[in-house]
Symmetry: C2
Subunit: 105 residues, 2 copies
């Protein structure tokens, strides 16, 4: 079973790839790749908040992002350190592939 915020050692490759196998979630990860922690409403401001709730959960459960409550909002950041430790080089390859994919479409 996938649970919220899996520990680093419990991050499964298949879950990470499933989480990233979606154009919107790839865009989210590209935005967070600058290392910032962002309010959920500021990641993809052009997408309705209600459309994103599901995607935050998928990314969080797979171990791709942290979600941290701050007042009435959630702050989001990429789990780069954990992903890089678990699968060295993979995240950078995925980000580069996402950049190319978006440029080609």
């Amino acid at each position: 079973m996938i649970t919220a915020h899996p520990e680093r050692t419990r991050i499964q490759l298949a879950n990470v790839l499933t989480a990233l196998g979606n154009p919107l979630r790839l865009r989210i990860v590209r935005v967070l790749a600058d290392g910032s922690e962002r309010r959920c409403g500021s990641v993809l401001p052009e997408v309705a908040k209600s459309n994103l709730t599901h995607h935050w959960r998928v990314l969080r459960d797979a171990g791709v992002i942290w979600q941290r409550p701050s007042g009435r909002e959630l702050l989001l950041s990429l789990r780069r350190e954990d992903l890089d430790a678990r699968f060295p080089g993979l995240l950078d390859s995925l980000l580069e592939a996402a950049r190319r994919d978006e440029a080609a479409n």
Copy 2:
């Protein structure tokens, strides 16, 4: 819509990642990563053929493998050249991540 054997330029990252977001399909790709063309029954001989039919289709439709009829069988191979051209370095990163993931589990 995803169609069978997409042309190289139509291979979409999100589809590739969705296709690989499954432990069995990751194992299939690891077996085919040696560059061989294999009868479908010889890729994961320990898994029942009926359980694999769906997975061949997902991998084929996403542009990850070629399926080629040969007599009454299908021959399968990895579309490494296309994937490497489309997303340089990604496949090798994924294979390395899959190797680590399997070793850790």
